[in-house]
Symmetry: C2
Subunit: 460 residues, 2 copies
């Protein structure tokens, strides 16, 4: 907040009913900043402030207020205020708000509204979550092919206050079918008598109401669009998704990908970390923890098979965590690189051979580095005493550990890169194959590698 | 690509010089789609195609072509084409291209351009990487306070073809100082005789040339802006960053966060996965691998301290990977949740107590689930024979493992949540404390927990 006024002063002004001063302060603030001040007030105080500004600015401020405060503001007795606000709000924000209200409040509020708005809310809240239909807004601007540029600009001027954007305008035929697109920039640059049909783009980029919202966000990103039209089954324009919605979708997706990568299931929550119940947190995490723990019983079986080796060379146990964790780390690294490259469309399954080749080279370099480090550490700092079994030299043990670690790094790196690639081949989201799952696979193979290497090199 | 024409057909049309057909095909395609076709051609063929369309469309198509093809197109003999294209390009895209060219080509191309464009390129390429100065473009539209709306619209119409956006227009005084902002929407809705100074917003949201580009992206996201002005030290407007740049920054940041989380250092590369050299991949990964491996020597010391216990109860070794990996998984999960909540400003260090309380409850639930699972598994499937040392029952061993695992889960979950919180307290990016680093800390403590629990419960 750049403005010097402070929240306590602001509350004080409201208590002393200095509404003129408040209004002059509000006039030059961004709606988001005003909403930050209002967040500290009670619903009835907020309504008083919103009444000081133009209706459409009031609606802009309102959407920046926290959703739980918005909900509380809907259950008060401010029928007139609520009606005016709901009619001014962006249609998508309004539908979102209704999704958060209790059924009886929804029914009460719907009755306040004219039939057109009522139908719009019911329509927008009917789409399945995370589809373009659920994300889009219906307050978009349209023109007809036969409109002249002059008429078009007049129409837009008249429509502008109620539209989400007037920078991208969609052209429909008489039946509402999407036939073209024209930007306000193009309109302004065209001669007044030209027909919209002659200056519009016919090859419009669009999405369907049932498409995943991520597809829409990707199209907006790829084509640098301000808005993307969404059409229904018949090809009629049903709504638009704007660039700011695309940013929100990309952020949400980001959280989802990170959680998947760390073996957290169920997708991101609407609520913030502290507001999500402990039980929900538990549910999101426990399944992978149990599954991966069960997989580790296999490691147990493998170690059991080497009981005798281990009993004779108890020093092998000391370095088990080092082997396991280095394998897990290098596997996670290569998996992350490949998952990210797949998400950014830099790779496909057909690049498998090139990926393996690259990861092989990288893992050889890493295994040489970490192998050398371990060799020196063990060779220099291990006393020849009790830990080294009779008949073996420190150098031989150090060499064995370095060799096992090197093989483990190579195995882990290649496996980490291959698992997400193979997943895409079978149309599984590569991010679902979480990094802990790869680390567990690496562990199981790694233990076999470790004891086998020990048997070979130490000659047991 | 929605269009039915195929790339081989397209190449064939070029060979047979059917430029009329090609032009009619290009006319209604999006520049991005045209660029996809052109990607398959040689530089001189691409120049031929670009000559078929309007200069400004040619520039739009060009920026969607892969950067390495763009670079190759600059070294040919097409001086006139190159000059026209460079003058048409968005100033930020042009500066980006120059960053990729060899010094001698840069010098040769700069000489082709008029002094103004030359100065612009030198200016834009002089800012430090990842600052707003490096990201911004200089082709923004400005007005003066004294301009009437009528004059303003005339000016914009004249300027439009060369500007990145005309939807947000910045108002400057005679000296170029940023004094206000007006949207094209507002201009269109205002009366022709009104002064821009009377309809503009004075409290403009802006960034400084030296600010981190992430700040700019966050402002664009928070305030739903189409463009954000960037000012220099004196307060003069130096450029703008547009919403599509913000999306690119957010994507880049996303890759960076994921790589940090998986212990990959150095930040995202400009090149794609396969184009980054193996040595660069190696450098990004090896340091954390070595550091974490060194930390695991501590685990070795701890196990060494329990050599006798381990030799008497070799069964303890079988379950070491299970203990370690479950600890690592639960620690990574809580760390991911907290890092993400910190990034989304849902948490601050002051919430530490509430976070610990929540994670304690969650970890108790997880440890009860996974503890019970392990108890049943060991109790039901372990034969009373060789593995269970004399004097102990299977139930006692199963109980010991379940108890150790439960303590490990609680310790790991709390530690995973605390480390990123404490990192923010010391102004360290919480994501730098990568998940593998937390898993390693968990491992070291976990091994001590494991053997201590064993000693207590088994009474050794």
């Amino acid at each position: 907040m750049k403005n010097p006024i402070l929240v306590p002063e602001f509350r004080d002004l409201i208590k002393r009913k200095k509404f003129k001063i408040i209004k002059s302060f509000l006039d030059d603030q961004h709606p988001k900043e005003i909403a930050e001040y209002l967040g500290f007030l009670e619903p009835d105080e907020i309504w008083k402030i919103l009444n000081l500004v133009d209706e459409y600015i009031g609606a802009e401020i309102f959407v920046y207020i926290d959703i739980d405060v918005q909900v509380r503001m809907m259950s008060g007795a401010f029928r007139n205020n609520i009606r005016k606000l709901l009619q001014q709000m962006s249609h998508d924000d309004r539908a979102d708000l209704f999704q958060h209200l209790d059924r009886d409040i929804v029914n009460r509020l719907l009755l306040l509204l004219p039939p057109k708005d009522r139908a719009d809310i019911i329509n927008l809240t009917s789409y399945r979550k995370e589809t373009c239909g659920a994300m889009m807004t219906t307050d978009f601007a349209t023109l007809l092919e036969d409109d002249s540029v002059e008429v078009a600009i007049k129409k837009i001027r008249k429509d502008a206050p109620g539209k989400e954007t007037i920078y991208y305008i969609y052209v429909t035929d008489g039946a509402g079918m999407l036939v073209g697109f024209v930007s306000l920039r193009k309109l302004i640059l065209s001669r007044p008598k030209q027909k919209v049909g002659n200056i519009m783009k016919r090859d419009v980029i669009f999405a369907h109401v049932d498409d995943d919202q991520e597809n829409a966000a990707n199209m907006i990103e790829d084509y640098d669009l301000i808005a993307l039209p969404v059409v229904d089954e018949e090809g009629k324009i049903a709504g638009i998704i704007t660039y700011d919605d695309a940013i929100d979708i990309i952020r949400e997706e980001q959280t989802e990908d990170m959680e998947k990568l760390m073996a957290i299931s169920g997708g991101p929550e609407q609520e913030s970390y502290l507001n999500v119940s402990s039980y929900t947190h538990f549910k999101k995490r426990v399944s992978w923890v149990i599954i991966l723990a069960m997989m580790q019983f296999v490691s147990g079986f493998i170690i059991q098979g080497f009981t005798e080796t281990l009993q004779n060379f108890i020093i092998l146990a000391y370095y088990m965590p080092l082997l396991n964790s280095t394998g897990g780390n290098t596997g996670s690294q290569s998996a992350t690189m490949v998952i990210r490259a797949l998400a950014l469309n830099e790779l496909t399954f057909r690049d498998m051979f090139r990926v393996v080749k690259k990861e092989l080279v990288v893992s050889l370099m890493i295994s040489a580095s970490v192998g050398l480090m371990v060799f020196l550490r063990v060779f220099v700092f291990t006393s020849g005493g009790g830990d080294i079994p009779a008949g073996l030299t420190v150098a031989r043990v150090a060499y064995m550990l370095a060799a096992a670690l090197s093989v483990q790094v190579i195995w882990a790196t290649i496996l980490g890169a291959l698992v997400p690639l193979v997943a895409t081949r079978f149309r599984i989201d590569p991010a679902v194959v979480s990094s802990p799952a790869i680390a567990t696979l690496v562990d199981i193979g790694g233990i076999a590698i470790y004891f086998t290497t020990a048997k070979i090199i130490l000659g047991i």
